[in-house]
């Protein structure tokens, strides 16, 4: 096993597995012992086996292009990302704290709006929010929880601090890849699971099922749970079907359901209509119910909102939960935590400049070459400006965009996000990565053990999104050495 020493020589980011002297960190020591025990060429052989396994397992995602939709194999790097249990548990506590506060916040926004009245959260931000749904005002879903499933993106900066980059509260995806990555690793490197104490990740589907079941309006009866997918052409279709399969739920499309005049949701079965209790929806609010939102949507089911408002069906995440999934709202999360929980945030927020506030906007416009600028309501890394890497023309374009619609933009200093050794042409080279754990909330809170590690496969690249050439790694949370 060989390190790309040239690349590491000029390396300034924090590396997850190697210290500055390029020695394995404590948590990664058993992994390196194992890798060093492999013969020359063995790793390359395993890599080929990985590719074949992924191909056969059909773990794919879809890329939209002009040439049609292409089903691409999920790029997977066989070198795992390793973290000690103690550090992970502190992050886990931070994730749960954050989601608890965000749910209190969402419920407050749709009801009393105490946080605005108390002057902690500006009314202008809410007014400018693209994801606030007036149709949801006055509703308190069961347990007061709106965002039942949250995918939180974490990165680690040069000094080792872990930051929350964003909270994905709408339809976060990727958890199936987290689960499948572990399956692939077990098939390819069975030996290493004997020598290292790697905590399992496979309780997620059960946890997800329990969370969804707790939303059923018919207590005491076996609930009928469905996963609502936009269909086979959605890039996350693999995941929708995977989760339905793992939970024993029904995978439905909008046209598989109808809402009766009785405001109850039914699905169309071979013996007629059957009541649906809980919908894990994987389509955006806008397409959920043409009676209430986008009237042209053919993806949703007319009447879902009627049924939900009446309490006849549970919907996760609740319509309107995305109001807190907004990069401007993000800047307020530390305050939100203090306000509702009376606790200090456990996880750090990246310092953020809001273009809606004049002096912060001026700072952003004067420092576009140093900052990352993000639109408030986009996801998947689209519509971003990475200042230091942008051309002067791109920066000018963004300056205009910001001046025209300041509420829609925020900026952050460019973090030097951490790397981990990644197999590139047979040697281990540093590649940037992030981590997306998944957090569940109903009457209980749960966070995955680790999460999905996404890695930018191209040298120097910071973009880890699968739609833009990112890959992934298995994430190991290991027992710390005594």
């Amino acid at each position: 096993m060989e390190l790309a020493r040239d690349e590491y020589a000029t390396h300034t980011a924090h590396d997850e597995l190697l210290d500055r002297a390029l020695q394995p960190r404590a948590a990664a020591q058993p992994l390196f012992d194992y890798l060093n025990s492999l013969n020359d060429g063995e790793l390359a052989k395993r890599q080929q086996a990985v590719d074949a396994t992924i191909m056969a397992m059909g773990i794919t995602f879809t890329v939209y292009s002009e040439a049609g939709n292409i089903d691409r194999v999920w790029p997977f790097d066989p070198i795992p990302r390793v973290m000690g249990r103690k550090e992970w548990e502190s992050i886990q506590a931070g994730l749960k704290q954050r989601l608890r506060a965000l749910n209190l916040f969402i419920n407050d926004l749709y009801n009393e709006q105490r946080i605005i009245k108390d002057g902690v959260f500006p009314a202008e931000v809410l007014e400018g929010s693209g994801n606030f749904r007036p149709q949801c005002v006055g509703i308190t879903p069961r347990f007061g929880v709106w965002a039942h499933i949250c995918g939180t993106d974490l990165v680690r900066d040069k000094d080792g601090t872990v930051y929350v980059l964003e909270d994905n509260l709408r339809v976060p995806s990727g958890v199936s890849y987290m689960l499948e990555n572990r399956q692939v690793m077990k098939r390819i490197f069975p030996e290493v699971f004997r020598t290292t104490n790697i905590l399992p990740v496979d309780d997620y589907p059960m946890q997800l099922y329990q969370m969804l079941a707790s939303l059923s309006p018919r207590e005491g009866e076996q609930p009928v749970i469905v996963v609502l997918t936009p269909g086979i052409y959605n890039s996350a279709y693999f995941e929708h079907s995977y989760l339905a399969q793992q939970m024993g739920a029904y995978l439905v499309e909008g046209s598989d359901m109808v809402v009766g005049a009785d405001d109850i949701v039914y699905m169309k079965t071979i013996t007629g209509l059957q009541r649906v209790d809980v919908i894990y929806r994987r389509i955006d609010d806008a397409f959920l119910d043409p009676e209430v939102f986008n009237p042209d949507s053919v993806l949703g089911t007319p009447g879902l909102m009627r049924a939900w408002r009446k309490g006849n069906v549970g919907i996760a995440n609740a319509p309107g939960a995305g109001v807190a999934d907004d990069k401007v709202v993000y800047a307020f999360v530390p305050e939100i935590i203090r306000y509702y929980l009376n606790e200090e945030p456990i996880l750090a927020n990246v310092p953020s400049y809001l273009c809606m506030i004049e002096e912060q906007r001026d700072y952003v416009l004067a420092n576009l070459d140093k900052l990352v600028v993000k639109p408030a309501n986009e996801s998947g890394g689209y519509g971003m400006l990475i200042g230091p890497r942008a051309t002067p023309e791109e920066r000018d374009k963004f300056a205009k965009l910001i001046r025209n619609d300041p509420r829609n933009y925020m900026a952050q200093p460019t973090l030097e996000i951490s790397t981990a050794p990644t197999l590139v042409d047979g040697i281990l080279a540093p590649r940037h990565l992030d981590l997306r754990p998944f957090v569940l909330q109903s009457d209980q809170l749960y966070a995955t053990t680790g999460g999905l590690t996404r890695v930018a496969m191209r040298k120097g690249s910071l973009v880890v999104n699968s739609s833009q050439g990112g890959g992934s790694k298995d994430t190991w949370i290991v027992e710390d050495a005594a």
């Binding site: 191909m55 009928v224 079907s241 169309k268």
Partner: protein, 330 residues
């Protein structure tokens, strides 16, 4: 409890897989019998497209029916919805929407079959030796899939629908292969003719894996009447039309609200049992087969109505129009 859309996809997945295997068998046994044809005798390759009921489609794209063009058409041509590649591809697409109701390994198996066909179809079209190997592998992988179905799937409604799809497709293919005989014109010379007829019947039985069974259960010599009776009526042979119908009856008995479908299937099986097969000339055979195919089609339509569109009966009046609208879109 099963979604109507899922049920429909299961049914089509099974039909597509069965069709892919049947086509592979047909090609292999035809190639095999060619090697035995007397010198000077030629084989009409176009017959193979005819069996599948695809002669018009074939003629549209290919100027000439020869071994190479027919093989490309039947094995790898995506524009032919019944080509092996297209069937496997559709089956895979169906399976993608079914992963949550199928055993976990099923997707991997069908995906592997798809990847195998995609990679090897060109070689299979190139020469006979590779063709035999590739198609044999397709058949074997299909068998592994059927084994997985029967061995690891709960025998629930999903399983019955798969079995229904498989058997209706199988019955349909058997009638099509029989129909081939009415489409061949044989030479005048009675000695050559008789030998040729027997050879072609042997190939027919072979393509249905029936030759050995026929010899054991019926006779050493293959005569048309016996072969026709065997392939239509013999309940012991798993590819005979009667056997397939019987399997379907059993499936329907285990499915909800299937009274009418049970009757329809039983009735057709009875008709076949009572229809004399002696003295059927080419024209009469063709007419009879036409009738059988129509009635299989009726069962198919009734099944569609009964299960895949069943939910429409239960829709409250207030949303009736919505249901109709969606149906019109599909």
């Amino acid at each position: 409890m099963m979604l109507a859309r899922v049920a429909e996809n299961l049914y089509w997945m099974a039909r597509n897989l069965e069709r892919a295997e049947n086509t592979a068998r047909l090609i292999n046994s035809t190639t095999h019998v060619l090697l035995d044809l007397p010198h000077g005798a030629t084989f009409g390759w176009a017959n193979l497209a005819e069996i599948a009921g695809l002669d018009d489609l074939f003629a549209k794209t290919y100027p000439e029916a020869n071994e190479e063009s027919i093989m490309r058409f039947l094995i790898e041509d995506e524009a032919n919805p019944s080509s092996i590649f297209a069937c496997v591809k559709y089956a895979r697409e169906n399976t993608r929407t079914l992963r949550e109701v199928l055993p976990a390994e099923m997707w991997e198996r069908i995906n592997s079959l798809y990847l195998y066909v995609r990679q090897n179809a060109p070689a299979a079209c190139r020469n006979r030796r590779e063709r035999y190997m590739v198609l044999n592998e397709v058949i074997q992988q299909r068998h592994a899939i059927v084994g997985l179905f029967s061995g690891s799937m709960p025998h629930d409604d999903a399983y019955q629908l798969i079995k229904l799809g498989r058997n209706i497709e199988r019955a349909d293919m058997t009638t099509r292969i029989l129909d081939l005989h009415s489409a061949i014109s044989f030479p005048e010379d009675s000695v050559v003719r008789e030998a040729l007829v027997e050879r072609i019947w042997m190939s027919t039985l072979e393509s249905l894996s029936a030759y050995q069974t026929y010899r054991r259960l019926v006779a050493m010599h293959v005569r048309s009447n016996d072969a026709i009776r065997f392939l239509l009526q013999d309940m012991r042979f798993p590819r005979s039309v009667s056997h397939c119908l019987n399997e379907m009856e059993t499936c329907f008995r285990l499915m909800p609200k299937s009274q009418q479908l049970q009757q329809l299937t039983a009735l057709l099986r009875l008709k076949i049992a009572q229809h004399p097969t002696a003295d059927l000339d080419a024209v009469a055979l063709h007419e009879y087969i036409d009738l059988l195919q129509l009635q299989l089609g009726e069962i198919h339509d009734a099944l569609l109505q009964n299960y895949f569109h069943a939910w429409r009966d239960g829709i409250p009046p207030s949303v009736q129009t919505q249901g109709d609208f969606e149906f019109a879109q599909q």
